[in-house]
Every structure is written in C-alpha cells, then in structure tokens.
Amino acid sequence: MNDHEIFINLIKNNISEMLETIDSLYISCNSCTKNMLLNRLRRSVTNLSMLVQGFESSQHLSDANDPQQNPTRVFTLAELRKYNGRNGNPAYVAVNGTVYDVTNNAAWAAATHFGLTSGRDLTGEFASCHSGQSALSRLKAVGTIAE
C-alpha cells in the first residue's frame, strides 16, 4: 500500500468515525454526553485536517504550486511592522518565511493573540504553541519575507 492509499484509508476511517459521532449526537439528550461527543468530533476534525495536509504533501502539492500559498509580494521585516492592525492597517504575521493575513481571524482580536502583536515574524512563537497543527492552512497568505 503506497502513501496515497494509506492516507485515503485513514481519511475514510476518520469520516466514518465522525458520522458515527454525529449519529450519537442526534440521540443523546444528556448535555454532558453531548459535550464529550462534541469534543470527540473536534478531535476528529483536527485529525482530518492533518490527514488532508499529509495527503497534499504526499501528492507533492508544494507551496509553489498552490496559488494561495504562492503570494507574490515580498516584505522586509521593517515593512511587515506597519501591518500591526493599528490606525486602520491590516494585521499580518510571518511564519516560516510566509506572511499571513490575520486581520479577521477570530483568535486575533484587536490584532493581538495571547500577548503577541501582529506586524512581526512569529516563527518561534508559532512553533512553541502550534507545532504539528494545521492552523496555518486556514490563514490567507499575502506574501513572503525577503531573504
């Protein structure tokens, strides 16, 4: 079985588990059980998201082939600092050389996130909190950081 088939199988299993959880949610009238099922569903969604990412990598869908992940604008760190979400400016952050727009991301209220401000390269901070998660795939890429 090649990587491609392994991912397809895992994704199918995950979807069938999610459907079972949804069925259980329909028949559960206890809020505690519902909360546990919702928690399980959230875990499944996270797994699914990671599996899809892995699948894409296995298909060699590199960043360069994806138009959204292939932004053309190049930012210097000094330019990036202007996009701090203040004075009407949008809020951008850089991770691993890519610049992302977090202006309307719910977790970035007032262009800040758990004590971090936008307009900065947050590669280290991202790695310390969201390593292995799929958070970046939900953000709109708007450029890259100048070498």
């Binding site: 809020s31 505690c32 909360n35 919702l38 977790a107």
Partner: protein
C-alpha cells in the same frame, strides 16, 4: 435569559446541569446512598472573589452546599472558629477523607512568606505550607478560579511574590475551574458530580467538559455579526466586539448560556468585550482588554 433562548433545549438542559447534580447528590445523601463530603476551602494568594461568588449562587445555592451536601470544615472567611482553633480544624482534617477547594495562587518567594494564612502552634503558616500539607492528602483537589488554576491576577507581571498555580506544586491531578471569579454553578456542579460519581470527564487541561467544552465565540448571541463582518468600532454598539479586543474566540466556557448573578447577564450582554478571564494566560496574555486603535 431571552425568550429566544428559552426555546433551545440544549441551553435549557445546560442551565439545569449544576442544580440537577447538586439536588441528586443531596437526595442520595438523604437516602444514605452516599456520604456527605468533607470540604476544606483554602483562600490563598488572591482576592477571595471566588468565595464571594459562591455565596452568590442561587440554584444551587451556598446554603444547600453548607447544610445538606458537605461538612464545611474550614474556610477562613466563613467559619465561626478563629485563630489556633481554626487552624486545629484545618490540620485536624489530615488523615480523614476530604475534598480540597483552593482559591488563589500560591506565593512561593522567600518560602511563601508573602502570604501567611494563620498561625499554628506558635508558627506562621504560609499558603505554601498549607498546600503542601493538605494538597497531597485530599481525595480531590479543585482549583477554584483563575489564580488557583493558572496563576491569574496574582501571577501577573511582574509577579513580585512569585505566585504559581496549584497544580504546579502538587504531584497529582488537580481539577481546574478557571474564571475570575469561578461561577458558583461550575464549582457546585463539579462537587455534586464528584460526590456521586467521582471524577467528571475532563479536557486536556483538566477542566470539566460539562462546563468548559464550548468556545464563547461559538455560542455568542452576537456571532451572526462576526460572520457578516459587522464590527463595533466603540463600546456601546450592539454588534461584534472582535475588533475592540473581545477574547470570546479563545475562551472556552459557557458564560453566554449560564450568565451571572442568578443568570441575569454577562459581559457581552452588557456591551463590554469578553476579557478572557476564564482562559489560561489571563490577564497578561488577554490584553488589551479594549483597544480603539484598530484595523479597518
């Protein structure tokens, strides 16, 4: 509660969770199916806001807790005994089966000398001494409020007394009920569950799923405004306060449903953003609480 919410079965059931658990526990105690619990409540390095919040509980109420549900052995604000007699009661519980509720962080600088909670046998007893003596001996430890759960206000920068949360000093599981203060329902419902069934289902951070499973943002009555990109540009506008700094999207608890002061209202319902008081990292990592210098 608004009329709209009254029609939602999920909201109705959630609102009853704590009172059902407490009433069932009391019934089981009356029928001798389970024993009354012994409860010790330590007020350590904090503002004592959690015990005040507990007194504000209505259904279930503090009276039910103290008279029908537990033997309330120790709380320095509420007990009749004082001085050495009170400390005798506190340390006399060691060896018996008791549940330990802790509010406030623990000051650790200079051996905890910045928070002395009493004197026993002629010696000062620090918060650090108390948590070390009682924390490992309790059948359950519940960290009540944000300071006990994650350091909170007491451990905020520059944290001069080197305050730390309860779990960081104990080599055991600590059930964490963050919130500044903790809602009476969250504590009483958790206690009612423990008395009947033992440890409730917890998330990865040891918060009971029955109260802490949902992001405020996901059940916020102003969520439709967020989805449509209609944002308040100043306090008082009854739309989504995301751009002003609302922390509902990162705070996991059921305030929008449960509400406060006998289920009357809650911050967003009163036109102020959620400041993330029930989220780890509060207050430092939840700042700015309100910002007018915002994106367009």
């Amino acid at each position: 509660m608004s009329d709209i919410n009254n029609n939602c079965k999920n909201i109705k059931i959630r609102l009853e969770t704590a009172s059902v658990l407490v009433n069932n526990a009391i019934e089981a105690i009356n029928q001798n199916k389970i024993k009354k619990g012994n409860l010790i409540w330590l007020e350590l390095t904090g503002c004592s806001g959690n015990i005040i919040s507990l007194l504000d509980g209505s259904d279930p109420s503090f009276k039910k807790l103290a008279t029908k549900m537990v033997n309330f052995i120790y709380d320095n604000s509420l007990m009749a005994a004082e001085g050495e007699l009170a400390m005798d009661k506190l340390f006399g519980a060691i060896g018996s089966d008791f549940i330990l509720a802790v509010e406030g962080a623990i000051s650790t600088k200079d051996n905890g000398l910045y928070n002395v909670i009493g004197r026993w046998r002629g010696q000062p007893v620090t918060a650090l001494d108390a948590i070390k003596a009682l924390g490992e001996k309790a059948s359950y430890v519940i960290a009540v409020g944000t300071c006990a759960s994650s350091g909170g206000m007491s451990a905020a920068r520059p944290n001069p007394a080197a305050c730390v949360p309860v779990h960081s000093l104990l080599n055991r599981k600590v059930i964490r009920l963050p919130g500044c203060p903790c809602h009476p329902d969250w504590f009483l419902g958790t206690l009612g569950y423990i008395l009947q069934f033992g440890e409730p289902a917890l998330d990865g951070d040891n918060r009971p799923l029955m109260f802490y499973s949902t992001l405020i943002h996901n059940i916020c009555p102003r969520r439709p405004f967020f989805n449509q990109g209609i944002f308040a540009s100043q306090l008082g506008e009854e739309t989504c306060m995301f751009r002003l700094g609302c922390r509902g999207p990162v705070t996991r608890v059921d305030c929008p449903i449960r509400q406060w002061n006998n289920h009357v209202n809650w911050p967003i319902g009163n036109n102020t953003p959620c400041i993330g008081c029930a989220m780890f990292g509060f207050p430092d990592k939840m700042e700015p609480f309100v910002s007018y210098d915002i994106t367009r």
